[in-house]
Amino acid sequence: MKTLKVFGNLIKDGFLEVTHGSKAYHVWMAVLSFIMLVGMYSYSIQLEEGLSATGMTDRVSWGLYISNFTFLVGVAAAAVMLVLPAYVLKNIDFKQAVLIGEGLAVAALCMCLVFVIADMGGPARLWHMIPVIGVFNFPNSMLTWDVLVLNGYLFINITIPMYILIMRYQGKTPNPKIYIPGVFLSVFWAVGIHMVTAFLYQGLQARPFWNNALLGPRFLASAFAAGPALIIIVLAIIRKFTAFKIPDTTIKKISMIVTVAAQINLIMLVSELFKEFYAPTHHSISAVYLFFGLEGKTALLPWIWTSISLNVVATIVLTFHKLRSNLNILYVVCGMLFIAIWIEKGFGLIVPGFIPGPWGKIAEYTPTLVEISVTLGIWAMGAFIFTILAKTGIAVELGQLVYKKKN
């Protein structure tokens, strides 16, 4: 009963906290709200007209939504790379970063789920998927696995920080015996959400571009580069705008993780390119389309080459200790890496899977305005959720939000 009361008070205090802030904060939230509203309006058009309002067709049947979903699963899982050293190796430096990382995971997972719903032809019929009242095709369909692991991961990532925050809120020290098992579970789970999401594509014999044993491992490597890269940028912003102390060493340690992951990712990229182009087979044709275009159809070319150049430059810069230690350079490089992997693991992965089609038809995909604004709206929603979580979390950590202080 007492816990409930504390929780209720935390929600109340948290609400006060997130509705008060500096002018910059209010402007930021207003902009996000506006983008979300535009996104919702666009989604209403899509609901009315059907998915024909998007650029998807029978030839390329998954587009921007599923691309962003795939990428964000990676971002969500990357939080675990910070959780592990902080809680298990008792590395103090990471502690502050972890709360932020887990908040990021929650926001990314919410975005993932909304992206999947936005992609559905019949969102009103989604109850068909709820076990017990619907039919849940488990374990045959990898999509049902994905539903399970994503929701499970969301649950873990909400409960652990919630427990820690509620304890801090009351001025108590969280008991490691309670949360460490959860942390271990989330570590395995993070790898799970990656692999399951990769298997979603990897298991399709119809699409040789995805039906590739490296897909899962490369997913892990690229996500562990992109996720912590995003965390570094977010930490830099938080450091600038709040009183939350994040020492340089924390950011530098995270940059080590980014560096190693980016290097491994690059090795795997080389391995993939070698396999596709040293002895090209019929199955390399999608890769040819992606990197060089086919029959004058070259829509993805500027994107993928931007991605590869950013990736290579960022990885080289990160590799040099001197350059990496300069925080300003580090932030720029992290931004480059994030964009590079968003392209590569987003539509650079999903769209070529459909081109050429099963009978060799080359039909390209261009997202429509409706699709783009729904996508932006969902990203704004993610940023909105994260801002709320981070602001409350930081206030609790700083001791500004304490149980019964005000009443």
Binding site: E49, G50, L51, S52, M56, T57, D58, S61, W62, V116, D119, M120, G121, G122, P123, A124, R125, L126, W127, H128, M129, V132, I133, G134, V135, F136, N137, N140, S141, M142, L143, T144, V147, L200, Y201, G203, L204, Q205, A206, R207, I285, G353, F354, P356, G357, P358, W359, G360, K361
Partner: protein, 350 residues
Amino acid sequence: MNNDNKKWYSLNLKKSPKVDSCGCGNDSGSCSGEKTKDGYDQVMNVSMGRRAAFKKITAGFLIGAGAVSSSCSVVSGDENKEKSGIEWEEYFKGNYKLMTDKEKEETVNRLTRSYELRTGEKINMTSKDAEKDVLFGYAFNISKCQGYMDCVNACVEENNQDRATEMQYIRIHEMEDGKGFNFEESDDNYYHEVPAEGHFYMGTQCFHCDNPPCVEVCPVQATWKEKDGIVVIDYDWCVGCRYCMAACPYDGRRFNWKTPEVPEQEVNKKQHYLGNRLRKKGVMEKCTFCIQRSREGQNPACVEACPTGARTFGNLLDPKSNIRWILENKKVFRLKEDLGTEPKFWYYMD
């Protein structure tokens, strides 16, 4: 499908043969009706009860909403009340595959009545189950096809496909002589007189694989293989995720990107629940070997319409059928056999 009565060479990629395609535990005829309950069934039967509970709870939530506004309104007549009642029942019905015969009949009656309320016209819809000892197969004679596309037109008319986007289940590929089966360089969207000189033609559609990848990936079991080998979709159960479309190596599936339009006078009123009944936006559809015809002992519309006799359809389990004669006497082959999907659609040449 037992390996004993399999009448074609197979890759044998799977470790264990799949004994039962539909998982309902009933080996003969239909997927419903009287049968011994296995574990799966028991779970599903419970779920029917729970869904009823869900329906009631949701009803509580929606009491202030549209359903009530139409049923309480003084202006709206009995017909509107009936219409919203039908919509309500239809929204909460279960997966066709798991319905009892009575439930199947009820939903067919509701759909028929709903069409009558909307248009004033009567349709004739059935839910006929697969016949015993029937397994449908299809053969395509590449030497005979001239690319007239009569099959495509007949298919569209028979199966009530969306006219606005010109949805077609069949694709006819125009190939160049001397290049073999080169799908990359073939043209499946030609608008000129046929047969074009120096070309030959080849049709593809859903191959009704014996080991269909599309069925495996569906998260809600809205698509499955019937006892007679036809891969069907429950249009009302599909959630529109399009995973099956990504999983199909043969481009056999189509999606309703918008509300399909069929002019009232062109609607084929002889319909089957799993076949050519009218679809809605946001669901998958595909060739069903014209289930509304083939289960009545007729040939699919494409076979009937073909002016050259390139298309043969029949029962693979009937030793006297034409399809069996072709499989036994012609050098038949299937497309992308290396994927282990085991299509029930063969090609051959004279």
